[in-house]
């Protein structure tokens, strides 16, 4: 008995230690947010914001793909929906005047103006609604490959429709001059909510059900897991994050147009998830950081420079080429992702030589 209670004591100690470490991390993030909002220049601040938005979008796709094993190639379609809904609902009269000069806006939308924050959330919900709409019939009868193809088709249809519905979306011109009201606290807030949500989801029953479906669909169904409900749920949650993230990206660039989100984004997020490890939140966050910053750092290869007297005047395309070659090497080298384990506060007080023996988080 005595030994048991001692062990319990140790466990309790560790638990409170874990809580303290998590608290410290949150404080560190808050300090980081404060520093990036107030003390650094405009360009790094924008990068930090882009990183946080990417984390959120990648986590959305990770819930669809990494948790449930479903394959969505049309994430960018839901991003577009979220961005357009959020922006159109919260346009001010002046912006309406300056944007809709070729085509008049439809009368029933003319006097709508809601709070941008509510607009962003509504954008997310509309994206989730469309995901449910397309998800139910497709997932009812078809496998995962087809879901990818169907969402891809859906995203392309969305693009064409937005280009053509000029009296609602301003057509191919897009909507420009959006207010720059989002700041680091906003995007960090959203990103942290997304991360915590995903971590919690991994621990509650529906999250476990999703992972069971990913591992073996037939066995999961035989154990009494409702396939359709859980798959549609994952798709809706992921698309909600896509919608919100798309809206944030729209405000981040201060302009939206139908060609803003393409497959390129989708592939970037797929890359983040696959290299970060399927369903691994730690990997998603770290890879989002590496890829966001990496894509910026790689801009230097297209800039004019002078190498040992040789004049090099930057060739367009070099940056994407470098990125894709690196991507190819990473995927050939780490076929199942770079990160195998989840982050855990224990990392801070366990001796490194035991790294291989302890279980970190939910190891697969």
């Amino acid at each position: 008995m005595k030994i048991l209670s001692e062990q319990k004591q140790i466990l309790n100690d560790k638990e409170s230690l874990n809580k303290i470490i998590i608290l410290l991390i949150l404080v560190a993030i808050a300090v980081l947010a404060y520093v990036s909002e107030n003390l650094i220049g405009d360009y790094p601040r924008r990068l930090v914001m882009l990183f946080a938005i990417n984390v959120m979008l990648a986590i959305g796709l990770n819930i669809i793909f990494g948790f449930a094993g479903m394959f969505s190639l049309g994430h960018y379609g839901f991003m577009t929906i979220g961005a357009y809904v959020a922006v159109i609902l919260s346009l001010s009269p002046e912006q309406r005047m300056s944007n809709f000069y070729v085509t008049k806006m439809v009368p029933w939308l003319e006097n709508v103006q809601i709070d941008p924050f509510v607009g962003i959330l509504i954008g997310g919900f509309v994206a989730a609604f469309f995901a449910i709409l397309i998800g139910i019939p497709i997932l009812k009868s078809l496998g995962d490959d087809y879901l990818g193809i169907a969402t891809l088709g859906f995203a392309e249809i969305i693009r064409v429709v937005i280009t053509n519905l000029a009296d609602i979306t301003n057509g191919p011109l897009g909507i420009k001059g959006l207010p720059k009201f989002i700041n680091v606290y906003w995007v960090f807030g959203f990103a942290i909510v997304a991360v915590i949500f995903a971590i919690r989801l991994g621990k509650v029953s529906s999250g476990r059900a999703l992972k069971a479906i990913r591992e073996n669909e037939i066995a999961a169904e035989a154990s009494g897991i409702g396939l359709l409900y859980h798959k549609v749920l994952a798709l809706a949650i992921g698309s909600f994050f896509a919608g919100v993230g798309g809206a944030l990206l729209g405000y981040w660039t201060a302009t939206i147009d139908p060609k803003m989100f393409t497959q390129v984004q989708n592939f970037t997020f797929l890359t983040i998830i696959v290299t970060g490890g399927k369903g691994n939140i730690t990997g998603t966050v770290i890879m989002s950081f590496i890829i966001t910053i990496g894509m910026e750092v790689l801009r230097f290869v297209e800039e004019p420079m002078n190498i040992f007297g040789l004049q090099y005047s930057g060739i367009p395309g070099t940056r994407m080429l470098t990125f894709s070659v690196l991507l190819l090497i990473i995927i050939l080298k780490f076929q199942r992702g770079i990160f195998k384990h989840e982050f855990s506060p224990r990392l801070f007080y366990t001796r490194p030589k035991f790294f291989n023996k302890i279980r970190w988080g939910n190891k697969k």
Partner: protein
Amino acid sequence: MIFQDLSNGIALGATYALIAIGYTLVYGILRLINFAHSNIFTLGAYIAFVFVAMIGIHWAFAYAFAILLTAIVGRMTERIAYKPLRDAPRISVLISAIAVSYIIENILVMIFGGRPKSFPRPEIFDQVVTVGTVRIPSVNIIIILTAAVVLTVLIIVLYRTKQGRAMRAMAMDFDTSRLMGVNVNKTIGFTFVIGSGLAAIAGILVANKYPQVNPYMATMYGLKAFVAAVFGGIGSVPGAAIGGVLLGLLEILFVALLPDLSGYRDAIAFVILIVVLLYKPTGLMGVKGRVKV
């Protein structure tokens, strides 16, 4: 007018069909959506462009070289980017395909720039055939004839040769055919050679039709050709051919009959895709696969 629309539609559909076959062959055997395939198509057009416009040899030789070289490049992409991942999760292979796709696209951008370049088309492609009151551009006729000949040859190869039988066997059951002594690597290589060659032919024909080439021309063409492959039943070669032609015809007829909605032209293919997936997911000619426990 209707005859011209029909010839345009069938010609467009024939190019979709040629590309769709490459998708369908690879998907049938490796269960991989080969995203690099559409860039192989662009590459074919560009190699032909280099031979004709920059080196200046006779177009027939230039096209033959271009098809050959593209087929070799297609084979090499399989060797470098897909073969090491044969036992990896399928998503990793997909990412690899995407990386290859970007590599080809950006090499083209780096060498030729992002702007379209005009493609010098030979005399024979640049005429109008008049039958009574019907005027049909000769390029349409050439596209349709080429596609018909190529498809016939392909069907003969698939159904009358040993290599073709190996390909069909692998599409039916990868592991069993390996046990039965099919040379897996050789057959997959052969598949990529055929698919890339057909894509190169399609690329050259398309470059002749619009006479221009640009590095991004593959994006829409590739997606629509993929839709054609799903439409016809992915994994089935005759299905891809029929799906391609039908898709091209529907697209052109939609624009011809409803000019007011021509802005929605690019959506047609994807609406068809979703309708097909909902009502006949195996496509027109596809076989229903069984899920094994």
